[in-house]
Structure formats: structure tokens, C-alpha cells
């Protein structure tokens, strides 16, 4: 092992030592940064810059030089609505339905996820036998791939599935959970929360453990009631971590695709079709691919994400300036 490592090092050292001998330390720095910077520029920064121009072009060709410049046509098409309150009056009705669904999903998921993660973190922060085990219980689904998560729940929620069996044994009527728009949305939120809860609970748990213990001990000495301790000490001191959770959960929820796509396929109808699925289908999966339209939709999504991020940053600075604990 040591000999192999030595050999690898000697080979890897060759270009660096040559550059150092020839160009000195600046050469080494350039060589260190270059690979990451090149890959990063080609596959991240380049596409970010191209995206804007791409959304101004039309036609079926993939490469920019073969595409026709159409100006704001794609945006006009996306925003072409007779009545913005009703997605069905829009030319790209699937885009607007996706947006409306996304609004419902993000709101529901962020609220449920934050509350559930908070409850979990509070419970895990107790003096608990086998805390490592319990932490692992909640964290386990985080590791599962979205495809696996989607399939597991599809299996449980299907007509002859475990949930309906449970309901029937309790004397209730079985349901077609994923065939009814309202329930399909509710289960999409639930499954998404199920899959990510452990991650956010861990962030909050770290926040709770950073709260000095003597504050709680002092409150206990004074015989303060638990609810009062929670609202007057724990919550204000946990606020920074909660904000991180809110920011991350919102930004991730806006990008929802994988697990819901596998669970419901966006259905029934378009009841659980969200923005990323619209982009995916418009650009890559439709009979007639429209890459320009997909690019325009993703520009609008990027704009939304920037606004969200800025709002959160402003919120944080505003809160810092006005003090956390009152």
C-alpha cells in the first residue's frame, strides 16, 4: 500500500515539479486551480451565461449557432394569458398549472417539514437512551434515492396496498390515493417530507445543542413552565438555525421533481406536475422538443430562486439588526 502510494505520488508530482522548476510558485498555483476552474467554467458558469441567450432563440436545433434568434417570443408565449387567475386560459397552461401546484406544494412542505423537524430535534435533544440509534432512524430515509422513495410509497399507496389494508381492517373504505388530485398532492408533500425530515432535524439538533445548558438550568431553578421555557429561551436562540432550515427547505422545495415524478408521474392529469417537470417535458421528453421554451421557463425559475434567496438574506440582516432575543 505504502509503495503504491509512493509511486502514485511520484507520478502525480511530475507535472507540478516541472512547473515549479520552470515558472516558480505562481505556476504551481495556476496548475492547482486550473482543473477545477476549467470544469467549473465549462459545465456550470458557461451554461449559466448561455441560458439567457438560449431562451431568446427558437427552432429545433440543439446548438446555438444553428438556432434562430426570436427575441422575447418564448417569454411572450409563457406569459400569454387571458386571465392570470385561471391557468387554463394561458397558452402554456401546463406552465401555469405547474406554478400553481408548486405554490401549494412549497407552502405545505415548508410548513410541515419545519414543524416536524423541530419536533424531532426537540425529542432527540432530550436525555435519551440510545440517542445515536434514534437519530439514525430519522436520518435513514435521507440516504434513499428519490426513485426508491417514490417506488416504496407507490407500493404502499396503491389500491391493494398496505395503507388500504390497514384502513379496511379498521373498518374504513379503501381509497385510490394517487388517483384523486387532492390526495395525490397531499401524499406528494408527505413523501417529500418523509424523505428529507432527518436532514433538517439534524441541523436543528446541532442548533439546540449549541444553546448553553445553564440557561435552561436557571429556568428550571426558577420553576419556569416548559412551554414558557420553549417560547422564551429555546425558540429565540434556535432562530438562526430555523432560518437556515427555512431557506434551504424553500429553495429545495421549489426544485421538487424526482420523488414525486416517480410516485405520481405528475398526475392524476396535471395535479402534481411542478415547474421542473414542465421544463423537463418541454425540453427533453415531449414529442416536439422545445429547448428555447424550456430555457425561458428555467430563466424565470432562476429569477424566482434569486428573489427568494435575496428575501431570505434581507430577512436575516433585518433580524440581526433588530436583535434576536427580546
Amino acid at each position: 500500500m505504502g509503495r503504491v502510494g509512493g509511486a502514485v505520488m511520484r507520478i502525480a508530482a511530475l507535472p507540478f515539479d516541472w512547473v515549479q522548476a520552470r515558472f516558480g510558485r505562481p505556476g504551481v498555483i495556476a496548475l492547482l486551480v486550473a482543473p477545477n476552474l476549467i470544469v467549473f467554467s465549462v459545465f456550470v458558469v458557461g451554461p449559466i451565461l448561455i441560458n439567457g441567450y438560449y431562451s431568446l432563440t427558437g427552432g429545433a436545433a440543439l446548438f446555438l449557432e444553428e438556432r434562430v434568434f426570436v427575441g422575447l417570443e418564448q417569454y411572450r408565449r409563457l406569459l400569454d394569458c387571458r386571465d392570470f387567475a385561471d391557468p387554463l386560459t394561458c397558452r402554456e397552461d401546463r406552465f401555469w398549472i405547474g406554478l400553481r401546484n408548486l405554490g401549494v406544494f412549497v407552502l405545505a412542505k415548508v410548513v410541515v417539514l419545519t414543524l416536524a423537524a423541530l419536533a424531532t430535534a426537540l425529542v432527540l435533544n432530550r436525555r435519551l437512551r440510545g440517542r445515536g440509534f434514534w437519530r439514525a432512524v430519522y436520518f435513514f430515509p435521507v440516504l434513499l434515492s428519490p426513485v426508491v422513495v417514490g417506488l416504496i410509497w407507490k407500493w404502499i399507496l396503491q389500491r391493494d396496498g398496505a395503507l388500504n389494508a390497514l384502513l379496511v381492517s379498521l373498518g374504513a373504505e379503501p381509497m385510490l390515493w394517487l388517483a384523486e388530485p387532492g390526495w395525490a398532492m397531499a401524499w406528494s408533500v408527505f413523501v417529500s417530507v418523509w424523505a428529507h425530515l432527518g436532514f433538517y432535524a439534524l441541523i436543528l439538533l446541532a442548533g439546540l445543542q449549541a444553546i448553553p445548558a445553564d440557561l435552561h438550568e436557571a429556568a428550571a431553578m426558577d420553576g419556569t413552565r416548559p412551554m414558557r421555557v420553549f417560547f422564551r429561551i429555546t425558540l429565540p436562540l434556535l432562530w438562526p438555525s430555523l432560518l437556515v432550515v427555512l431557506v434551504l427547505a424553500t429553495i429545495r422545495a421549489v426544485q421538487v421533481f424526482d420523488e414525486v415524478f416517480v410516485l405520481t408521474g405528475g398526475g392524476p392529469g396535471t395535479a402534481t406536475t411542478f415547474l421542473v417537470q414542465y421544463i423537463y417535458e418541454t425540453g427533453f421528453a415531449a414529442q416536439i422538443r422545445n429547448l428555447g421554451l424550456a430555457a425561458a421557463a428555467s430563466m424565470l425559475m432562476a429569477g424566482g430562486l434569486i428573489v427568494l434567496t435575496l428575501a431570505q438574506v434581507l430577512l436575516t440582516t433585518w433580524r440581526d439588526r433588530h436583535g434576536a432575543v427580546r
Binding site: I29, V39, F43, V44, I48, N51, L62, F140
Partner: protein, 350 residues
Amino acid sequence: VSAALTFLTRRRHPGRWHWTDVAAWTWLILGLLLMFGPVLWLGLSSFKTRAALAEFPPSFLPLAQAEMQVTGHAAPLPLFRVRLPDGSETVLAQVRRVGIEARMVDPADPSRTFDVPISERIPVREVRLAWGNYLEPLARFDFLRFFGNSLFVTVVATAITLLINAMAAFALAKYTFRGREAIMLFVVATLMVPLSVILVPLYMVVGGLGLTDSLWGVIWPTVATPTGVFLLRQYMLTIPDEMIEAARMDHASEFRIFWRIILPLSAPALAVLAIFSVMWRWNDFLWPLIVLSRQDTYTLQVGLNAFAGELNVQWHYVLAMTVLTLLPVTLVFGFLQRFITTGIAGTGMK
């Protein structure tokens, strides 16, 4: 709250349960059922035969009808618990069924035959694992190839990620040079750009490089993670400069410093990044789904999704393949659990 609460409740009413204890344990038990239950159910279901899966309500364990080899009959015969006309109950093997009558034999004494109305017999069932669910689809669902593709993507992407991110992070942490601040700003600014907003132009770039339908098309866009550079740089900043100066005094080359001092000392941060990279790449779905359209290049996730879509009704195969897909991650988690959860709590990334 909780530490204070246990303190409180213990002092005031020893042995008594406060309502917060009840609430906490309810949440824990509920969590145990909800978090492990579905995966356990998946595992049990994956061993059921197709017939057993079609049953409603389903049985908890994978049961199948018991069979027995009876002398005088070539194939094993299914066993039934039968109520005989005299009221006694016994276990008989069914030879054949004619209408509502079944011709049955006593397995202990094959010469005794009985004609039993089918309403008077119940199948004898035993736990039997349907390994066929795992073995049969391997011909159609090219599990080994998909697994190999996923393994290749995960291992190669993680190795490249670690190497080039560590190199860049080292330069950004331990040298002062023109443009360093600009690069850092760049890195931080793109931390928040998700792949899902650059799908179209990225597809064009990957297509232009001829990497569609290639695993490298999945690997390259993911390896220059700003998150990784940021995490490693923050960690390397804590390594004292004196160590580097001392090494330079001894005429160590810059590369030797990187390889022999910086990398070993950054091992904890590298390990965290490695775990995340493995998790990310193994579970990636949307980007491989777009880039890979030829079946022989599918990763496990794309292959499984396609398989589930094709064979919508063949749950017995889909479930078994789902179990195989989640098994590697579960095993890794089993071994590295403590490490993973503390790593995430420490860095706040996923």
C-alpha cells in the same frame, strides 16, 4: 427544554411521567414505525410470490402454499387443511380439482383418497422466500450492467471531485495571488445555482463535447462542486502556516507539501466530502435521465424507473430490484452512521 425538563421532572416527581415524556416517546415510536416501516414492508413484499402480492388484505410475512412430495406423484402436491365429514380436521395433499370437488390423498398413506368439497379446505401456508423475484428479472432488467454503470459514475466522480476540489481549495486557502478573491466570490455565488435551472444549456454543452449517452456526460458536470471547494478550503484554513513554512525550509516541493501535509491533515473534511459525493452520485436521477437515452448506459436509478414504468403490474420484480438498489446505500449507512450524521450536523450540507 428537554434537558431542563428531565431535570425538573426527576427532581419533583421521581418515577412519574410528565406529559412531555409521553409526547416525546409517542413521536419516537411513530418515527420508528413511519421511517423503518415502509422499508421493512418493501423488503418483506419483495419476497412474496406474484400470487401472494395480489392478495388483499396482504399477509405480513411472505407466505406461500406449502407443498409436499407424495409417493406416486411426480410433482409436489399442495397441502390443505381439510374438515372431514366426521368433523375431524386433517392435512391432505390435493391431487386435482374437478369443479367444486377436490381429489385429495393422505400424504402419510397415499393409498387413501378423499373427495372433498372445495369449501371444506383451507390452504396450508408457510413462510417461503420467493428468490425468483430477484433472479428472474436479471435477464430483462440488466441489473449488473446498471449497477456497474452506477458504481463507475459514483467512484470516478468522487475520486475526481476529491482531487480537483482539494487542489483548488489548497491554492485558495494557502496562497495569496491575484484573482483569489474573485474566484472565491465566484464559488460562493454559484453555491446556490441548482442544476435544474441550467438543464438546457448544459445539455447543449455536453452534446457539443459528444458526451450524451456517455457516463462521462453524467460525471463531468457534477465534479467541480462549489460546495466541496468551499468546505475543504474552510477546513484547510485551520492548518497552521508554520507547518508549510517548515516544510519549505526542508526544500520540500509545493506538490510534496500538498500531498504529504495538507491532504493527510484534511482527512476528516475529505471523508465528509467523499461520503456526500457517493450519496449524491449514487442517487442522482434527473440529469442522468436527460443525458442517458441508450439503455446500456443507464444508471441504476434511471434503469429502475424505466423498469417500473415498463412493468407497471409486475410488482414482484420491481420490488425486488428496488431492494437491490437501496441495499448498497443502506449497508454503507449501517457502517458509517455515526460519522455521516455528525458530519452533516457539522457542515449543514447535503
